[in-house]
Symmetry: C2
Subunit: 155 residues, 2 copies
DNA sequence: ACTTGACGTTGCCATCATGGGAAGGTTTAG
DNA sequence: CTAAACCTTCCCATGATGGCAACGTCAAGT
């Protein structure tokens, strides 16, 4: 299935890996990808292994891993003597992150559903949603303990 | 319970509303808060109604509403002739957003749990997590259809 | 060989909500 | 009167991503 002849340019690397050319350059700049070979004209060239690495990165991103963690995963991937426990630890850490974010969003969801359920949604102005938002004490329902300025579910 | 005598400075407005002084200034700058009164020295002053508005904003943020939607909510809040249906529509829209994000995160979670479950997590290097990340075809389990560059759950 | 279009390069700006800090003015309590 | 605690504005950073501009390069068709 070697439709492409390696090494390829950034465009082909992008379409084969699912990582945009923009992001490929970005990953190189922040040091996630190792230094790359260039043609005389300055074009980046990607060997098959490089495309594999990009694919790896993309899959990790698809699972929500932040770049820092991906760097760690790549390190373990390359290290043929890694203990799989280290990989699993990273995975479980990320799982905890995902769970925290899910919990946070679900708390919001519950509260908002509650509010919406009590709103008539007609032509009259009376609206418990606004009333509650204006209250001094609204709290997000079921929010696990007191979120002290929770990570506002950023990437 | 009027412990504070209005109008207050930005610090008191912040601690009373739960919105940081930093963000209060920001909201003013982007036009979410109306123009404010200042003392001769240039200090912003907040009347009780202003603090109420800040609290409203914060509650809306706590439910995940983006600033644009909050602007709309504030408009409806001020409009005593609003149809509650408009408020409800905004709430349901936000609810749909939350659900989409939750679904996305849960798809990641399922996939990652799957991978982690098959990893021994011991001293040996063999690790299905890395193996799968390196595969060309990994897909996030249960991801509703093909996410075409899904909103990477940004704020 | 020359033009053209597709592709590559760098660099800067924008998003979104938020925090940090510097450099400087003000107010208030001791 | 001084020192602490406040306030002001302005700039920079985060994280991952996209967009655009200005410009260089390569391959294909005339």
């Amino acid at each position: 299935m070697a439709i492409f002849s390696f090494p390829v340019n950034i465009g082909a690397a992008a379409s084969q890996s699912g990582v945009s050319a923009k992001m490929i350059r970005h990953y190189e700049q922040i040091g996630l990808m190792p230094a790359l070979k260039r043609t005389d004209a300055g074009y980046r060239t990607y060997a098959e292994a490089d495309v594999h690495m990009l694919r790896f990165i993309r899959h990790a991103r698809d699972l929500g891993f932040p770049v820092k963690q991906i760097a760690a995963l790549l390190g373990l991937w390359r290290d043929r003597r890694r203990p799989s426990a280290k990989v699993k630890a990273l995975a479980l850490e990320q799982l905890a992150e995902l769970n925290a974010k899910i919990d946070e969003l679900q708390a919001m969801k519950r509260t908002l559903e509650e509010l919406a359920a009590h709103c008539q949604g007609n032509d009259r102005p009376q609206c418990p949603i606004l009333d509650e938002l204006a209250r001094p004490d609204l709290a997000v329902v079921g929010s696990p303990a007191r979120r002290k300025r929770a990570s506002r579910f950023g990437a």
